[in-house]
């Protein structure tokens, strides 16, 4: 079902995404950098306190509520069990909303289609020096059947911190879950 070349592209894109972990802030300007910092940052493998498996289905997460501690570093092992591309993105509702515009663009330009990601289209120049490269450190974008990993260190408790899929309509249809900070 999947085109053969795609996974290579995906891998490349994925490493690119890993690489850009350090340059956290921010491909899409406009929504609270402060909020971004307080919600945490990419963690290092040696800091990981625990791992959580996340299954992504069409179009929902296997778990929809996660309890976490402030300061905890979690390895999210995310598997896309659906037939469509899905995302696992950590953020506030506002951040997700901003991200959705970009995802919309990706779909409209054919960078994401059904269960596949077209990395070539992703790197297409959008005219203002931006590409649609999905390199946000707080999110994973996975093709159908793909597995990925996101290590995240949570800072102080943030209200409304969610994990979400920002593919067009997925968040609105309910493909999101809530982080609950434990005392």
């Amino acid at each position: 079902m999947k085109a053969k070349g795609t996974s290579t592209y995906l891998a490349a894109g994925f490493f690119l995404a890993l690489w850009s972990f350090t340059s956290v802030v921010s491909a899409s300007p406009g929504h609270g950098d402060q909020q971004r910092e307080s919600m945490g940052q990419p963690g290092q493998p040696e800091q990981v306190d625990r791992s959580i498996d996340i299954e992504m289905h069409d179009n929902y997460y296997g778990v929809e509520n996660l309890d976490i501690q402030a300061g905890e570093t979690i390895r999210f092992q995310v598997t896309n069990k659906g037939k469509l591309v899905h995302e696992f993105s950590v953020g506030t509702p506002d951040m997700h909303e901003g991200h959705q515009e970009m995802m919309q663009m990706m779909v409209e330009h054919g960078a994401i289609k059904g269960g596949q990601i077209n990395q070539q289209a992703m790197q297409m120049d959008m005219g203002d020096g931006r590409s649609m490269q999905h390199d946000d450190p707080n999110s994973l974008l996975l093709e159908a059947g793909e597995t990925g990993e996101l290590i995240w260190t949570f800072n102080e408790p943030v209200k409304n911190l969610e994990f979400a899929c920002n593919l067009p309509g997925h968040y609105q249809a309910g493909m999101m879950g809530n982080f609950h900070f434990q005392q």
């Binding site: 069409d58 179009n59 409209e108 330009h109 054919g110 289609k113 067009p168 249809a173 309910g174």
Partner: protein, 542 residues
């Protein structure tokens, strides 16, 4: 393969009767009084009311529905959008003989799908007279979306005249109910706007065709209903702020397309005609007659929202409220200006472009994706919906200026069939004579038409060419209509295909149900006037 499944279900029911779900339902067909707030009339309903009760079935069960006819004429119930054996489909003269006065008829069929559907009489003029209700099937598996509560929002165009009287009047004068015709005043204001010569030429051109720009809704004068309640009766649904609410929108109108919106709120469309689609966030959507759409909304504020459904021709509206508490209301918008058909809708201009919906879209992936934003003239492409003739007067625009759902946005969430190329194509021209109020397919009315013969096991493509100036919501009974949006295996799975004036629309059918089926325009009076075909599936074990 589907047949095998069916046999398996039936065999299962013999071997494990206790395990298998059985759903039992009772419906009586009754004379009822319908009160829209604007007028009161005698009509036909179910279990004493119109609309009838919401039937809630479960996917995987065997549904048994006992229908008792308390009328003094024959009746029938068709399960709109349900895939049932041919003898359970409820069309008198095709599926069965109908239900006699006083008789109780028992329908039995396995429920092999989930989602939002409806049911209605297929006898006489009972459907426009009120014989309709909603049908909700709970999914066996988890659905690809979440919601905290759900409501059926069943739209209808209740007319004070009885259905038979409407047909009678239309036959005597096709413009009997048209009260949006262009007047002398419009003539003068057009002169002011476009100049004398241009206006005279415009009127001359239309006068030569003897066509009216206002032939958009041929039955005006209705009151729009939501779940049986008129705008002043304000059907109200409750929510807690922040909840996701699933609205099961059903257009059970006899003749009216509705443009539905909730001012101040985006809607996420998650299903079309009962089948899940990849979600699309919209500001507004058009429901052709007999279509259903499921939308999810998430009202976050502690305030009321208006559910507003304007008819496509802006001659009437349905209105309800989504509110945190009973008794709250929100502003009810004014209806927008009635649209006017253009020459593009007439078949005289632009026919060569109108097949774009297919030829352009069945191309490569990039072809399609470039239609949205690519190198083409952006503003022109943004405005265009390939399912309307370029320059069509019916092209909808969201009141908010935002996104209006198009057929081109629909992608199946989970295709029911693997894609395969159709083995043959059948062209059906949608034809008619507005002046005489005759509607037909390929120029032939139902009573004169040979049945359309399909072979069990084949996949056919049916291509509609709408040669009339009205939109026609075409409904094939018994088998799914795989609307061709150029997405092959992801083409949406529907039961009504709306074909706009002067356009071509194609859909594929996996011919997997033996027997005889109805295939017709779901505008009630168009079907009655002849836009109706019998489909015979040859082969397969009936």
């Amino acid at each position: 393969m589907r047949t095998l499944k069916k046999i398996a279900v039936f065999t299962g029911s013999l071997l494990f009767p206790a395990i298998l779900l059985a759903g039992e339902y009772e419906l009586s067909v009754d004379p009822v009084v319908i009160d829209t707030g604007d007028f009161t009339k005698i009509g036909v309903g179910y279990n004493g009311s119109s609309p009838g009760p919401t039937l809630r079935m479960k996917e995987g069960e065997i549904a048994t529905i006992r229908v008792t006819n308390n009328l003094d004429v024959d009746t029938s119930i068709h399960w709109h959008g349900l895939i049932v054996p041919a003898d359970q489909d409820g069309v008198p003269g095709i599926s069965f003989d109908g239900i006699k006065p006083g008789e109780t008829f028992t329908y039995t069929f396995p429920v092999r799908q989930s989602g939002t559907y409806w049911y209605h009489s297929h006898s006489g003029f009972q459907e426009p007279d009120g014989a309709y209700g909603s049908l909700v099937i709970e999914a066996e598996d988890r659905e690809p979306f979440r919601y905290d509560r759900e409501y059926v929002v069943q739209l209808a165009d209740k007319h004070p005249d009885a259905g038979a009287q409407i047909m009678h009047n239309l036959k005597n004068s096709a413009e009997y109910y048209n009260r949006t015709e262009q007047t002398l005043g419009d003539f003068f204001s057009d002169i002011g706007e476009n100049g004398f010569l241009a206006t005279v030429k415009d009127r001359w051109d239309w006068g030569n065709m003897r066509m009216m720009k206002t032939d958009i809704e041929d039955v005006q004068g209705f009151t729009g209903l939501i779940n049986g309640r008129g705008p002043d009766q304000n059907w109200t649904a409750l929510f807690e702020p922040g909840e996701r609410v699933r609205l099961r929108l059903i257009n059970s109108s006899a003749s009216t397309y509705f443009d539905f919106r909730i001012p101040g709120m985006k809607m996420t469309v998650v299903a079309a005609d009962g089948n899940n689609i990849q979600p699309v966030v919209v500001d507004e959507l058009r429901l052709a007659v007999a279509e259903t759409y499921d939308v999810i909304v998430q009202p976050r504020e502690d305030k009321a929202y208006t559910l507003f459904a304007e008819s496509m021709g802006r001659t009437g509206y349905a209105r309800g409220t989504l509110a945190p508490r009973e008794g709250m209301t929100a502003a009810v918008p004014e209806m927008r200006e009635p649209p006017l058909l253009t020459m593009a809708d007439m078949g005289h201009g632009g026919m060569d472009h109108s097949n774009m919906s297919d030829t352009e879209m069945s191309g490569s992936d990039m072809d399609h994706s470039s239609m949205g934003h690519g190198s083409m003239d952006q503003s022109a492409m943004d405005a265009a919906d390939p399912f309307y003739a370029p320059g069509s007067g019916l092209l909808p625009q969201a009141a908010s200026g935002g996104k209006f759902l198009s057929y081109a946005d629909l992608r199946a969430q989970q295709p029911r069939y693997d894609y395969r190329e159709p083995e043959r194509e059948i062209v059906l021209r949608l034809t008619g004579n507005m002046e005489r109020y005759i509607w037909s397919i390929n120029g032939v009315k139902f009573e004169d038409a040979e049945p359309l013969r399909l072979q069990y096991g084949e996949r056919v493509r049916i291509r509609f060419i709408n040669e009339t100036m009205m939109a026609h919501p075409m409904h094939l009974h018994g088998m799914w209509s795989l609307l061709n949006v150029g997405a092959q295996g992801d083409n949406p799975v529907k039961h009504v295909i709306s074909v706009n004036p002067n356009t071509e629309v194609a859909f594929d059918v996996e011919v997997d149900e033996p027997g005889e089926w109805a295939f017709h325009c779901h505008i009630f009076n168009h079907a009655s006037a002849g836009m109706f075909l019998k489909v015979v599936v040859e082969g397969g074990e009936a």
